[in-house]
Symmetry: C2
Subunit: 123 residues, 2 copies
DNA sequence: CTAAATGTTCAATGAACGTTGAACTAACGC
DNA sequence: GCGTTAGTTCAACGTTCATTGAACATTTAG
């Protein structure tokens, strides 16, 4: 029984929701790290430096519901990716400017996230 | 006794605060209208289509405290301007992208704000 | 001086936010 | 099957948010 996580369609991504979702230090750090990681997906576990398991789960859900990241299952893990193309389509130039400033905001320690475990199948 | 309103310096403008301040429909409408008005200052009264006097006062204070707008006295009125240069300096490309999307979001009625009364002295 | 115009402040309200720890679920490894 | 890994859900808590109406403050106009 494959369960699907709710993601807004590209057209349903709303600017106030996106701005609200990004208006939090933890969530800005998450997208800064995701962006620095290129196109590669990351797991929730790689963000535990930023907060408890529960807190990360909460923030990841907020980012997903706002349409900023995509989350898919990979075994017991979740693989997170930035919805770069969808965001660029809806709000041209927005994500790049936020990511640039958000990355500049972070301390080196924050950007130095732990590697993912070796179990990835989706890659 | 000239009273000064608190504005963060350019360097003290913080990205999470800016994003939080813009994550509200009313405040996005205010900056969309301000941006469409060019460099000209506008008064709080010109935004009463967006909410009560109290509500506008509240939202304007939020935008000011976040460093998004500058507010100065002009008689009994307040003159509002976007802090374009300061924002561009801190977060290059950010304001433009938000303004573009925020303007596109508005209905024509919202963008068709009332003219300011003829009392302006500061210009 | 008085009255009008323009905003601000205050207290109250209900909703949403972010964090916590405990309990739970789902999938993998052996 | 059994335990481990990875993450979610839930209830509880205190905080901040957005709105309202009433009262107040300040400056201009006459």
């Amino acid at each position: 029984m494959t369960e699907y996580l709710d993601h807004p369609t590209a057209e349903d991504i709303a600017l106030p929701a996106v701005l609200t979702a990004l208006g939090d230090e933890t969530r800005l750090a998450i997208i800064a790290i995701l962006a620095r990681n290129g196109e590669k997906a990351m797991t929730c576990g790689q963000f535990l430096q930023l907060g408890s398991k529960t807190a990360i789960s909460y923030h990841v859900a907020k980012l997903r519901e706002a349409g900023i990241i995509h989350v898919r299952r990979d075994g017991t893990r979740r693989l997170l990716t930035l919805r770069r193309d969808d965001l660029e389509h809806r709000f041209p130039g927005f994500l790049d400017s936020v990511v640039t400033s958000a990355v500049a905001m972070q301390t080196p320690e924050v950007l130095d996230y732990p590697a993912a475990p070796e179990t990835a199948r989706g890659m």
